[in-house]
Amino acid sequence: MGPNHDEVFLKVKDVLSDALGVDDEEVSVDATLQGDLGAESIDFLDIVFRLEKAFSIKIPKGELFPDELLSNPDYVEGDRLTALGLERLKSAMPHADFARFEQSPTVSKMSELFTVKTIVNYIESKLAAA
């Protein structure tokens, strides 16, 4: 019997507050990792390692944070994602909420997709598939 939603959320909260040096209370479900919690690129690697350990799962490169999409010219033109790029990103990140992002899908706004909820959704789908 795996952890329920609340248990997953609490564990993700612990991971993020440890990795980012923020108080538990700041880690709300809609908080963005970079904008609200101050995460930098190296923190993403730290977060992946900690999540793997906390939930005994393996997170393949790019599965939680698909950063390599950005270097493909078919997917990005200037600061904007192409229609193909947006479609590709959506299929790479079924755990994220695109409602706001897809209204103006720019690279500079991509960090808004990485919220606490995104991580919780991802972990739950990994645990369900296991």
């Binding site: 190296i42 923190d43 690697l45 730290d46 390692f49 793997e52 350990k53």
Partner: protein
Amino acid sequence: MRWIWIDGFVDFVSGVRASAVKNVTLSEEHLHDHFPGYPVVPASLLIEGMAQTAGILVGEARGFRHNVILAKIRSAEFDDHAVPGDRLRFDAVVESMDDRAAATGGIVHKNGASIGRVGLIFSYLDPAPGTAGFPDHNFVFTPQMLSLLAGFLNQSASRGDSAHAR
């Protein structure tokens, strides 16, 4: 890592753990200012000793193919300080490792007793050949640094890897 802060390895299990020692001496000039009349090893240098021990552990596990650099200090807590005459030992263990980064944990000892714990994350800096500002050879693992592993490098030789530092 152009400046070596550990004196030698006393234990090395490839990809798993490594221990290195460092003898603290008053001939280290920065101790004369830190502090005048009361020399104490700065905590930043205790972290550096662990970073070099763990960095070599990670580098060797990847066959010295990458420029392994310290990217994040996850945590560093010290319960005691070190002074000239002390013998430090840095025990590093690999906690996670993949093809982009590694996480290590470790304990710092002084004269056989634990005085602190350091958690680190290393990243691999491998720019494409010809990138401006970067040499084409491995600039982290210099021959001098690798000489610290003399006697332990047989493990990687028998695995078929070779050190690429020039």
